[in-house]
């Protein structure tokens, strides 16, 4: 496939969160305001791009039977670098995201792209794929966070919106006094977004994604026949 389609497919057609259904944990957990979403999107983008390049550069050197631990070490290295930079230079953004930046290392998007794309393609293609996927992830995160913050807290990036502030729906994403945001808003808004994407996709006659083997980063290493048996049941 040509270069521009490698880049663009990650944004809409194969959006990692809304179509491939990878990386759902940070999407549901931290999108209660847009600042978090931006911070997470940038951090994940840096890790995704750097690790895709690194793994693509090393793809001929890594033995096949230990490739998953190797990918994990490479990704963990970049996550540690991002962690330290974020904590040092942007402490205000880092504070609510502390745990989730560590969790980028187990984010299925990054491991999945490493396994399925970077290990088999050239550096330039892997870089473009990573950029596309990162933009797609950012789009999904910011869309969710915008809905949750605007309608849940009546603000946007911390700035209060005059009318919506009085008529907000706290359950969608407002931060309660004890600091623990309720999970309901995340699940609900995510479901609505996927339903919208499904509607758009069905008009274009594309198959709907189901939680299953398509997005799983271990799909190539697992016994495919077991997967198919699973799907058939």
């Amino acid at each position: 496939m040509n270069r521009s389609s490698v880049l663009l497919k990650g944004i809409i057609k194969e959006n990692p969160v809304l179509v491939l259904l990878l990386g759902t944990c940070p999407t549901i957990a931290i999108t209660y305001n847009v600042m978090n979403a931006l911070g997470m999107a940038v951090s994940a983008a840096i890790v995704l791009i750097c690790s895709n390049i690194a793994i693509s550069l090393l793809r001929k050197l890594i033995p096949a039977n230990v490739r998953i631990p190797c990918y994990i070490v490479i990704i963990a290295g970049f996550v540690t670098i991002v962690q330290m930079l974020c904590e040092a230079y942007f402490p205000a953004i880092y504070k609510p995201l502390e745990l989730f930046i560590s969790l980028i290392v187990v984010n299925c998007i990054i491991l999945g792209r490493a396994e399925m794309y970077a290990s088999k393609n050239s550096v330039l293609d892997s870089f473009l794929d990573a950029v596309g996927m990162a933009i797609g992830f950012a789009v999904a995160l910011i869309a969710m966070a915008s809905i949750r913050e605007i309608f849940g807290s009546g603000s946007f990036l911390g700035f209060e919106i005059p009318i919506l502030k009085d008529y907000n729906i706290p359950i969608l994403g407002a931060v309660p006094p004890n600091g623990k945001v309720y999970g309901f808003g995340g699940f609900f808004v995510f479901a609505i977004l996927i339903a919208i994407v499904n509607k758009i996709m069905s008009k274009k006659k594309k198959p709907k994604a189901e939680f299953g083997c398509e997005g799983c980063p271990m799909a190539d290493s697992c016994n495919k026949t077991e997967c198919e048996k699973e799907e058939a049941e």
């Binding site: 759902t24 290392v105 799983c216 997967c227």
Partner: protein, 201 residues
């Protein structure tokens, strides 16, 4: 004794990893279709959480902190978890092959389960596991155990919910993942009822 109950109740009900902290969503939505799979996955995750905490807690407190290597936390923890999952997979293949087959591809996916890494990191924090002097390690293990049981509880409950969903007919755009997510939203909403449990204890 009071701390024992507090930590157990907190990690199973009040701060349930799936329904309150919204971590570990991927396997939660992927494996909870059938009850035996859900139970098997829940127990495997509990086991990995406890053993992983048992290994990573001493590593953090005796090795990483003493030599000022705190920045290696992410790398070391995730490698420990990956190794443990491989061991669990080998063990299950030999000892309980039926369960190994039933879990299939989802067993290696425990490595990428956000909840496991989150438990390892959270078990080191004071607000989850109070500083009890020399007994802190045991309470950290209890915290990990409780978190796993909470995960198991959420999976088993949700297996029942999904049976009902399978028998119903949602609007076309909502079929599959969205309706599952909305039911997860409602179940997590129900778990909010446990919020006030601490003030009573």
């Amino acid at each position: 004794m009071k701390e024992f109950i507090l930590i157990l109740v907190s990690s199973v009900l009040v701060n349930n990893y799936v329904l309150s902290q919204t971590l570990g969503i991927c396997p939660f939505l992927g494996v909870s279709k059938k009850l035996n799979q859900a139970v098997g996955m829940g127990m495997a995750v509990t086991f990995v959480m406890v053993i992983a905490t048992a290994v990573t807690w001493p590593i953090q407190n005796f090795i990483l902190s003493s030599f000022d290597l705190g920045y290696l936390q992410t790398i070391v923890f995730i490698l420990v978890i990956a190794a443990l999952v491989q061991l669990v997979e080998l063990f299950l293949k030999k000892a309980v092959p039926a369960l190994h087959k039933a879990l299939g591809v989802y067993l290696p996916l425990i490595t990428t389960n956000c909840a496991v890494l989150a438990v390892c990191i959270n078990a080191l924090k004071d607000n989850n596991v109070p500083d009890m002097g020399s007994a802190t390690f045991l309470y950290a293990l209890l915290y990990a155990f409780g978190s796993g049981i909470g995960f198991l509880l959420a999976m088993v409950m949700f297996a029942g919910v999904r049976e009902r969903i399978a028998a119903s007919k949602p609007p076309k755009a909502f079929e599959g993942t969205p309706i599952t997510l909305i039911s997860a939203a409602i179940v997590s909403f129900a778990f909010l009822g446990f919020e006030g449990l601490f003030s009573k204890l």
